[in-house]
């Protein structure tokens, strides 16, 4: 560390974000590696260090004998301005190497509102922001993660996107780039070689055209190396796939400060708003034996005092009770507590409840998503009020007194009755509490209901739907708030409409949005996911200067036969399936969990991928 950088540390908030030195952080000498990879997380250190995907890929890359991977996260505003003022480049945590000196830099795209951070980090690291302006010696810029499934709004900035599960894909890409580096292959050819790999999309090799009404006319390859459709990567041997049992253990407390044991990937529920539920198909589970072993190993290597089960829907894991029991037994000597997140209301079992509190009691969270049964049928969230009441009553008589309920407003077909239903459900929850005899319940009931604004996402049955305009959003939030006013123990939180609107634009956007993003960043937008940093005015200005209409992207119902900006990406799910699901939604018809029988989503066509369909 230099005195220069050092002096900055004394002047910023939470300097521990920038100093590294964590247990298990990689100390491989970067100068001796054949190829260097900077894993960039476009949000602050605390968010980055909570992300399981980064720990997986960081571990995999560093297990390659010829590669070294170091971490970079987005500095907070105070550090941003210090770095700029003092002309110090953004560097990696491990060896303090500037971003521009890496062979490969890879961003994970978890959230559309982190896109400006991608630009800011490259610029701070001395990497040309525009792909077209990068020279032979500049790093190859990769991006992956769920948002990469609609890569177009970032097509000007990213050299190659990795679509789908990254475990195998990142090794293939690194191998190819390592070979290219040895052979001295020019940049353009390196990208063409990447384009030939399964799950890799090189946007520079495609061309877009538009219809007079502004909709997409075509998006096609202009190079024989580039496939017309890019099929996502799918990890098939989940049981034996790499698990980061010795990830860096941060000093500064991250958002999730615990072992995250990934018990399962994918979800069979088919909630129609949920992008993850569609993108991570098929469902893949690890065995209980394997998980107990992984948990033991993780505790031994990290010393964490808490472990949580990570998946999209942990209570759907086939042997959840057995797993909870065996983990609790395996970890109790070291006083490691087990917490069970994202538990679904309809499958919350009594013995799981008992297991959780054996060691430590954590808070209860449920996501009914919508206020009435009709709307829950529309979104295919198969949770009934009876389920919720039974589960809550159970929990309240077992010592819990606080519950969080998550909702969305602006879901397709929503009426005022559905919105008032949110408050009604809070009332029902309170009723469940008071139904427990006074001596059996813990005092001080707290019900927190949070409502986010529905954002239609690609590869979901709602990808053709519109988002409510900001005025409607505000009217609806007001309506719910009014119905919460008389409720004593219940509290209602809601999200800002502006952020959700920009998020919708970038979720559903085409290539033209790349210019908006570039302009917004030039105007000073960054850290947009942080409410206190989000500058709606600058975003509006950027759209206006680029001559693009927010409503066209966010508030427009799309025709079912419209060519969508992500149609050249093959997520494994058929568009016909999504259309069928959309039509069933409009009729408020539910679709069964696909473990009960194949619904023909499209994955059954890929050989050896979806076991349920074989």
């Amino acid at each position: 560390m230099t005195y220069d950088f050092d002096a900055l540390l004394g002047r910023v908030e939470k300097p521990g974000r920038y100093t590294g030195g964590e247990m298990n952080a990689e100390v491989k000498p970067i100068a001796q590696a054949d190829i260097s990879f900077a894993f960039c997380f476009p949000d602050t250190y605390e968010v980055a260090m909570s992300h399981l995907g980064m720990k997986i890929l960081y571990g995999i890359l560093n297990s390659l004998p010829y590669a070294v991977c170091e971490r970079v996260s987005m500095p907070w505003v105070d550090m941003l301005s210090e770095l700029r003022k003092n002309h110090i480049p953004l560097c990696s945590l491990e060896s303090h190497t500037p971003l521009s000196r890496f062979d490969i830099i890879g961003f994970t795209l978890q959230y559309e509102m982190s896109y400006t951070n991608v630009l800011e980090m490259m610029d701070l690291g001395g990497v040309p922001v525009l792909s077209a302006e990068r020279g032979e010696d500049d790093p190859i810029v990769l991006a992956g993660g769920p948002c990469a499934f609609n890569p177009e709004p970032l097509h000007l900035f990213i050299d190659a996107f990795l679509i789908g599960d990254g475990e195998d894909s990142i090794v293939e890409v690194t191998d190819v780039l390592n070979a290219c580096k040895k052979e001295g292959v020019p940049r353009a050819e390196r990208l063409r070689r990447l384009a030939a790999l399964r799950g890799v999309y090189v946007p520079g090799l495609y061309h877009d055209e538009y219809n007079a009404d502004g909709t997409l006319k075509s998006l096609e390859p202009v190079d024989p190396c580039a496939p017309p459709r890019v099929l996502r990567s799918i990890l098939t041997d989940f049981e034996n796939a790499y698990v980061p049992t010795s990830p860096p253990v941060p000093y500064l407390q991250p958002v999730f400060d615990r072992i995250m044991l990934e018990i399962m990937r994918g979800c069979t529920r088919g909630c129609r708003f949920c992008q993850a539920g569609m993108l991570y198909r098929p469902v893949r589970e690890r065995s209980v034996d394997k998980l107990v072993e992984l948990a033991r190993e993780s505790v031994r290597n990290t010393g964490y005092e808490e472990i949580s089960l990570s998946s999209l829907s942990s209570s759907d894991y086939s042997c959840i009770s057995e797993l909870a029991g065996r983990l609790t037994d395996a970890l109790k000597d070291q006083r490691v507590s087990l917490s069970l997140p994202s538990l679904r209301v309809d499958k919350f079992v009594q013995d799981t409840l008992t297991h959780t509190q054996k060691v430590k009691k954590s808070s209860l969270t449920f996501a009914p998503e919508a206020g009435t049964q009709r709307l829950r049928d529309v979104i295919n969230k198969n949770v009934t009020e009876t389920d919720l009441v039974n589960t809550l009553t159970n929990a309240f008589s077992n010592g819990w007194n606080a519950v969080k309920l998550y909702f969305m407003t602006g879901l397709p077909t929503e009426t005022d009755e559905d919105l008032i239903g949110i408050a009604e459900l809070a009332k029902t929850a309170a009723g469940a509490y008071y139904s427990v005899p006074r001596e059996k319940r813990v005092k001080g009931l707290r019900i927190t209901c949070s409502a986010s604004v529905f954002v239609p996402k690609p590869f979901t049955p709602f990808q053709w739907c519109r988002q409510d305009d900001p005025e409607t959003v505000r009217r609806k939030q007001r309506l719910v708030r009014e119905h919460f006013a008389p409720l004593k123990s219940a509290h209602f939180n809601y999200h800002d409409s502006g952020v959700s609107q920009i998020e919708a634009c970038f979720a559903l956007g085409d290539r033209r949005l790349a210019r908006v993003l570039h302009r917004a960043w030039q105007l000073g937008c960054r850290l947009d996911g942080w409410t206190d940093q989000f500058r709606y005015d600058l975003w509006l200005q950027a759209f206006e200067e680029c001559g693009l209409d927010i409503a066209f992207y966010a508030h427009r119902e799309r025709a079912l036969d419209e060519l969508l900006p992500w149609d050249h990406i093959d997520a494994g799910i058929d568009k016909a399936f999504l259309k069928r699901e959309y039509e069933r939604a409009m009729r408020a018809q539910t679709t069964r969990d696909c473990r009960e029988g194949c619904n023909g989503c499209g994955l059954q066509k890929l050989k050896g991928v979806c076991r349920a369909c074989e």
Partner: protein, 227 residues
């Protein structure tokens, strides 16, 4: 049993706060597999305590903590076991099994020794030139930041010794401070006062705490691990 542990908190970690360091040590103890004594109660945890919190930004060369263990752990086993699972920037330097009835380390903490190093430049040379005069003052009032806000406070009674030395790259100040009824003095505040007094601007520097002091029965101050 309780183990008195002398450890180094390296340069990389000097911006890591007290509570974060405490958590890191607790996790290292769990990784080590040593027989730790957990607290009883609903939320069992490792009740380790540091002899004297180190202010953020300062490197600790001989920091002290005590760790409750099940009986029968040797000093060497503890030191080796911990060093195997600590990152390079945290090192155990010495251990001592404490006799029953040995007072809590925190109750013994009476002062600290620091080393302040800085390269020579126009500003730091000015501060060094005024060092003797500054040390000769009987009183020096500074605004001391405490929980209740900024309070004017005479910092001179906190300082019991100070020497200045010329080094290869610049200067080195050895400073000894004691805790008084008014609390303790941060070395960074002392340096700020020196700068103000000598009208020196900011200059790069690094501060090390070299010892946590305890008082012997005769009143002399010695590193606590020697008591």
């Amino acid at each position: 049993m309780r183990m008195m542990v002398v450890f180094e908190k390296g340069e990389t970690l000097r911006y890591i706060g007290h509570l974060d360091l405490m958590r890191a040590m607790q996790r290292a103890l769990r990784r080590s597999g040593l027989p730790i004594r957990y607290s009883n109660g609903f939320n069992p945890h490792i009740r380790l305590s540091f002899a004297a919190p180190l202010s953020v930004g300062v490197v600790g060369l001989r920091e002290l903590m005590e760790v409750p263990l099940e009986d029968g752990v040797s000093e060497q086993a503890f030191q080796d076991g911990m060093n195997a699972v600590l990152p390079g920037c945290l090192r155990i330097r010495q251990c001592r099994a404490l006799a029953d009835g040995f007072p809590a380390l925190m109750s013994l903490a009476a002062g600290s020794r620091y080393l302040i190093r800085f390269p020579s430049n126009a500003e730091s040379d000015r501060a060094a030139a005024g060092f003797e005069a500054f040390m000769a003052l009987e009183h020096y009032t500074a605004a001391r930041r405490t929980k209740s806000g900024e309070n004017p406070c005479d910092i001179r009674p906190f300082v019991t010794g100070g020497t200045l030395q010329k080094t290869g790259e610049g200067w080195e100040i050895a400073l000894e401070t004691v805790a008084t009824a008014a609390g303790s003095l941060k070395p960074s505040l002392w340096l700020e006062c020196l700068r103000t007094f000598t009208q020196a601007g900011e200059f790069p520097h690094i501060i090390y705490r070299t010892a946590i002091l305890a008082r012997k029965p005769d009143g002399t101050l010695v590193p606590m691990e020697e008591v």
